[in-house]
């Protein structure tokens, strides 16, 4: 029990610094959603039903533009396509779990929770409590995101938002990725992914992110060097 609790809190702690960037993002989402004409209740529920920051921003924009419903759902899917890579990445560590755990952890599988948990999953892939780390990170993000959304919906545009706090997210991701760059091949993958992401940044629905990650991954298979870890 203690090991489970320790793993859960490890996940929570790994995620907490990201709240610096996530909270303002969530507050702004709440404000933007109301401005697009989404009712407060739907705006708040979207944060728990869709639970995906960039997709929610896009949906708010598209609702404001009066886009067709199916197009909006398709757009949300495209924005979140990169999560399929996360799903593939964590799947081996979750294989032994009962279905209810898989469903719960899939619901929590966001950019931030994945980033917070993956160094630990890579470091000890056979840990019996790895899923508790992902649960802790996912729950911490979820709770912060709900609170931020409600604050944005309730307090509206009266909040100061220009401290560049959103920069906390790329900074946290840097702190997570750099220690993973342990050999030339990994550095090459990072450089390729970064270059592709910049080249493809103009693609709609943030598809550039997914294509850049997938492209760098496939090129990694062609690079010389020993495969895998």
């Amino acid at each position: 029990m203690n090991e489970r609790r320790a793993a859960f809190w490890l996940g929570v702690r790994a995620l907490l610094p990201m709240h610096l960037g996530v909270m303002p993002f969530g507050v702004i989402y709440g404000i933007v959603a109301l401005q697009s004409g989404i009712p407060p209740l739907v705006a708040v529920l979207m944060s728990s039903i869709v639970f995906a920051g960039s997709a929610q921003f896009l949906l708010a924009q598209l609702v404001g533009l009066g886009a067709p419903a199916l197009l909006m759902i398709g757009a949300a899917g495209l924005v979140n396509l990169r999560h399929a890579l996360y799903s593939a990445s964590v799947a081996p560590a979750l294989e032994h779990l009962p279905r209810r755990w898989k469903l719960l952890l899939a619901y929590f599988l966001t950019d931030e929770a994945y980033a917070a948990a993956i160094p630990h999953l890579l470091a000890s892939p056979r840990s019996r409590f790895a899923h508790w780390i992902l649960l802790g990170a996912g729950f911490a993000l979820w709770a912060g995101w709900q609170i931020a959304t409600i604050v944005g919906v309730v307090l509206g545009a009266g909040l100061p938002t220009d401290w560049s706090l959103d920069f906390a997210l790329p900074l946290t991701f840097i702190a997570i990725v750099v220690p993973l760059l342990t050999d030339r091949r990994r550095i090459a993958v990072a450089l390729i992914a970064g270059a592709l992401a910049v080249l493809l940044a103009g693609m709609p629905y943030r598809l550039g992110l997914f294509c850049a990650a997938l492209g760098a991954l496939l090129l990694a298979g062609l690079l010389p060097g020993k495969a895998g870890r």
Binding site: A76, I176, V178, V198
Partner: protein, 104 residues
């Protein structure tokens, strides 16, 4: 009514994407060339998230003082390589960002 349809539909499609490979684990074995690439997923995906934030200003590559995020990002990368400390990396990155913003 339409909005509720969008809400539930977007939630379901997002959940299905996140569940995809997790649900298949154990029942379907992905090809081995794909499995050996999985350790590179965090590097490829997270770097793809970071790079445009650091390098683009209004969709243009920018390495000047008008792009403080690039320089603050370099500081953060150096700090992260030096000490594997997340809070230290974030702290140094913000100090660098605000310092460069103050210079402008």
């Amino acid at each position: 009514m339409n909005l509720w349809f969008v809400l539930v539909g977007s939630g379901l499609i997002t959940f299905a994407i996140r569940l995809s490979f997790i649900a298949m684990a154990g029942r379907y074995q992905p090809p081995s060339w794909f499995v050996v690439l999985l350790p590179f997923v965090p590097i490829a995906a997270l770097t793809a998230l970071i790079a445009p934030d650091l390098l683009l200003v209004a969709s243009q590559l920018s390495f000047g003082l008008n792009n403080p995020r690039f320089w603050a990002g370099l500081v953060a990368i150096a700090v992260a390589a030096w000490r594997k400390n997340i809070l230290l990396t974030i702290g140094c990155g913000f100090v660098a960002l605000w310092a460069i913003q103050a210079l402008q």
